[in-house]
């Protein structure tokens, strides 16, 4: 167990280093940060002096080494555009992204599972066909398009919900939350539907196919033969057994919800990390880009590490294999 954990940890560190290196080499192609930091009339000499001060003239490996040493101490430097420490900026934007991701994950589960169960049980009903068509939209339409569609329907035409921003927020320590105010909750509706729609359809289709599978199994047939009530068979026996893969997938999807919030946040001007990242790409704000990519990589590494360790705990065969070696 210990050796396995250490090996996984070393692999995780290696992955982080590789991500850092790849993103660093990519930054060479995103443009010249200095041009975004000064006005048009700044002379070439002043631009050159600024480049020198920022250390952008050093060899790429020197810059990379400097970044790694500082990042190991959680110092990601100062943002080029905002002139504030990157860790502060990301810290301030983190609650917005996490709240949005959480609410859309809950939305995906609460809507996706019942729809999946229903379509699994009533394969040929009209409602099932409707749900499946909706899920097709969720899977095939790009996120930004769904977002704009929702804005035009619910904000511009009906004027029920706000089209941008987070509404009023309440600060609890360093965490800001929009869950405690009416405008904050209203502002959450459209972005979380937009962000969660894809996951919702994914979960619905997964539950549906698992349901179809499980219903054909012998123990369900026996349950029917025992004369159990249909309700109890569907929800106590069938649904419970479909949930194992759903939980695994949902867990893995949490990472991608957070990472892919970029587009939703941009469409709704949601003040989270994704929006910050996109603004940084446009302004070639390398410190923020680097920190954000490291954070997302870290998130995925941690999730995968937990999943791997859990498998190790759950599956005795893994342990047996190691012992045989």
């Amino acid at each position: 167990m210990l050796a396995f954990s250490i090996r996984r940890l070393l692999q995780a560190i290696l992955v982080m280093l590789v991500v850092a290196l790849i993103s660093f080499t990519l930054f060479r192609f995103v443009g010249d940060p200095v041009n975004q930091m000064v006005g048009v009339e700044t002379t070439p000499e002043q631009r050159e002096a600024l480049r020198e001060r920022l250390g952008l003239n050093d060899p790429i490996m020197t810059q990379f080494g400097r970044f790694i040493v500082k990042a190991a101490q959680f110092d990601f430097g100062t943002s080029y555009q905002f002139r504030q420490p990157v860790s502060d900026l990301i810290g301030k934007r983190l609650p917005a992204t996490l709240e949005l991701s959480l609410v859309s994950a809950i939305f995906a589960l609460l809507v996706g599972i019942p729809m999946g169960v229903y379509t699994g049980l009533h394969r040929d009903s009209v409602l099932s066909k409707l749900f499946l068509s909706i899920s097709l939209i969720g899977i095939s339409l790009p996120t930004f398009f769904i977002g704009i569609l929702l804005i035009f329907l619910f904000s511009v035409t009906l004027q029920w919900l706000p089209s941008f921003g987070r509404g009023d927020t309440v600060a609890i320590g360093w965490w800001t939350t929009g869950l405690l105010t009416v405008s904050g909750l209203k502002a959450l509706v459209l972005p979380s539907i937009t962000l969660g729609l894809f996951q919702m359809t994914l979960i619905m289709r997964l539950v549906r196919s698992e349901m179809l599978e499980v219903i054909r199994t012998d123990y369900i047939k026996f349950a029917r033969a025992r004369g159990l009530r249909q309700r109890s068979i569907n929800f106590r026996h069938a649904l419970k057994n479909t949930l194992v893969p759903v939980i695994t997938i949902t867990g893995l999807q949490v990472g991608s919800i957070i990472a892919f919030a970029i587009i939703t946040e941009t469409v709704f001007q949601w003040p989270g990390m994704g929006l910050l990242f996109l603004q940084s790409v446009q302004n070639v704000d390398i410190p923020i880009m680097a920190a954000y990519l490291m954070l997302i990589a870290f998130l995925f590494v941690v999730i995968n590490l937990i999943v791997d360790l859990l498998y190790f705990v759950v599956d005795p065969r893994l342990r047996a294999d190691r012992a045989a070696l």
Partner: protein, 527 residues
């Protein structure tokens, strides 16, 4: 009495409160972010315009851009090399400190210090001398009639406050600790910054102790940056915002058709033009080898006459542009009506190409930004189509501004053969253009830093030097006219148009739209 019905009473009270309180809030959005509050860190229109609501200069510009007194009550040129500014008395900064000559001297030092992006506001050789508490002299190395032209955006900071908060050095991007002045503001202007979360929201409140009276009635201002065009327009149409800018040209009709909003359009000061590499002996991106076709004025003129700017105005810009014959806006030069574009004439263009020995045309790479100017990429595509008619094959390389500027500016080694650029002279004066855009430059950019194509005319440079020192306005305009005539005859560049500016405004809001695209709250009235 039916007024005693609770519901009606509540409605009445609510309506009374609405009119009596006068606490009008203006909510507006812009496509870009307000990054930090230090007024000397970024020489860019939106940033300077935002700061202009909080900070003030010795001068300011009116709605029609005329220079008027602000923190200086008046000024006079004592000797050609010595200007005296008489400061307004009784002005206080937002924190209550008095505004005095010390603040002006301090601000003059700070704006020229290391890390400032507004060093061009005052020449490094100008001496700033305090005469008494409300008089300051500026001693110049040489006469300069446009000394104060850019001072409406040279904002005066409070010496005491800046020093007390350890913010004397201008925030530099290489600093590791945030500078107090980057996150807080203390000006003399009509509005105070109440909160500022960079990239999210900035809230302003009216400064009740302002020395002047505002024309508008806005108490509180909430600024949100909204990058996505569709969301910005939707927020205006749904009534969540009172004002947004810019409005994309294709959305102007929708904003006008919608009940409760209107689009306010006008010509902007920015001139969009094409430039050609005339410095290298062989173009970097062309199939012509061993020579540079752009060194031949006939080729440049053929390009000029092959492009139909009226068609670009009508189709690409939806009427929101003014074709231009000069590299400066007609607003900024009194004699601009004496200049006319070469007419669109593809036959004449073909003849010129044949005369120059390129009857079969050639291919050339063109660099173009795709997120910097109004419909920039579409303009470049249309130009490529027009040039195809005179057998010039354009390989268009349209990129986001970050990559575009990294390639074509001095830092990229002026790596371009043919490019589209826009320019607003910061001083609102022709000399700026004659220096930055058409001045002869070396490989590093000294002489004419934004003359990307390296056009060079010693005559124009000589005229520009005279323009800089000529104090008599009529003579000065004559010198400028001579320089512009040479540029026009030699087709140094191909001026395209003045792009338009478009703001989306709620119907109950009245405001002043300034041609430099700066937005000032003091002129806003909400009904």
């Amino acid at each position: 009495m039916r007024y005693f019905k609770p519901l009606a009473t509540a409605a009445l009270v609510a309506s009374l409160m609405g009119t009596a309180a006068h606490a009008e809030t203006l909510r507006y959005a812009f496509q870009g972010t307000l990054n930090q509050l230090d007024p000397y860190t970024l020489n860019e229109t939106f940033t300077l315009g935002s700061h202009g609501n909080v900070y003030e200069g010795l001068t300011r510009r009116a709605g029609d851009l005329a220079i008027e007194p602000a923190l200086a009550e008046r000024w006079e040129v004592m000797e050609p090399n010595r200007w005296r500014f008489y400061l307004r008395k009784g002005v206080k900064f937002h924190n209550g400190n008095d505004f005095t000559a010390d603040d002006v001297v301090f601000s003059a030092d700070r704006v020229r210090s290391e890390g400032s992006d507004l060093k061009t506001r005052i020449n490094a050789d100008v001496k700033v001398v305090k005469v008494d508490d409300h008089t300051v002299d500026f001693i110049l190395p040489a006469p300069n009639p446009i000394l104060h032209y850019e001072w409406d955006t040279w904002y005066i900071m409070d010496k005491e406050w800046t020093e007390a908060n350890d913010a004397v050095a201008v925030t530099s991007a290489s600093d590791t600790t945030p500078n107090h002045a980057a996150l807080n503001a203390n000006g003399t202007g009509p509005y105070k910054v109440m909160s500022h979360e960079a990239g999210v929201k900035t809230v302003y409140e009216r400064n009740e102790n302002w020395w002047d009276t505002p024309d508008g009635n806005i108490e509180t201002v909430e600024f949100t940056p909204i990058g996505s065009d569709a969301t910005r327009i939707a927020a205006l149409l749904s009534g969540e915002l009172d004002m947004v800018y810019p409005v994309p040209v294709q959305d102007i009709k929708r904003v006008n058709d919608n009940e409760g909003t209107r689009a306010l359009t006008g010509p902007e000061l920015r001139t969009i033009f094409l430039g050609m590499d005339q410095k290298r002996d062989e173009l970097l991106y062309s199939d012509v080898k061993g020579k540079n076709p752009f060194k031949d004025v006939r080729v440049r003129k053929a390009f000029y006459q092959a492009i139909d700017m009226d068609a670009i105005r009508d189709k690409v810009m939806r009427g929101l542009s003014t074709p231009s014959a000069l590299l400066i806006s007609p607003f900024l030069y009194s004699r601009s009506d004496e200049f006319e574009r070469y007419p669109y004439d593809p036959e004449a263009a073909k003849a010129l190409m044949a005369e120059a020995g390129y009857a079969d045309g050639f291919s050339v790479g063109m660099d173009c930004p795709n997120d910097r100017y109004v419909n920039d990429e579409a303009i470049c595509q249309t130009i490529a189509a027009f040039l195809a008619r005179i057998n010039v094959k354009v390989d268009l390389n349209a990129q986001p501004k970050a990559q575009y500027f990294a390639k074509v500016l001095a830092s990229g080694g002026y790596d371009t053969s043919f490019y589209l650029l826009g320019w607003t002279p910061g001083s609102f004066d022709s000399w700026n253009v004659l220096h930055n855009i058409t001045g002869c430059r070396d490989d590093k950019g000294a002489g004419g830093p934004f003359n990307l194509g390296g056009y060079c005319s010693p005559e124009v440079d000589a005229l520009a030097a005279k323009v800089l020192e000529e104090n008599d306005p009529t003579k000065r305009d004559e010198l400028i006219a001579q320089a512009f005539t040479i540029l026009h005859d030699e087709v140094s560049h191909i001026p395209l148009h003045q792009q338009g500016l478009a703001w989306g405004v709620a119907s109950n809001v009245e405001l002043t739209q300034r041609a430099d695209n700066q937005f000032h709250f003091r002129w806003v009235t909400k009904k």
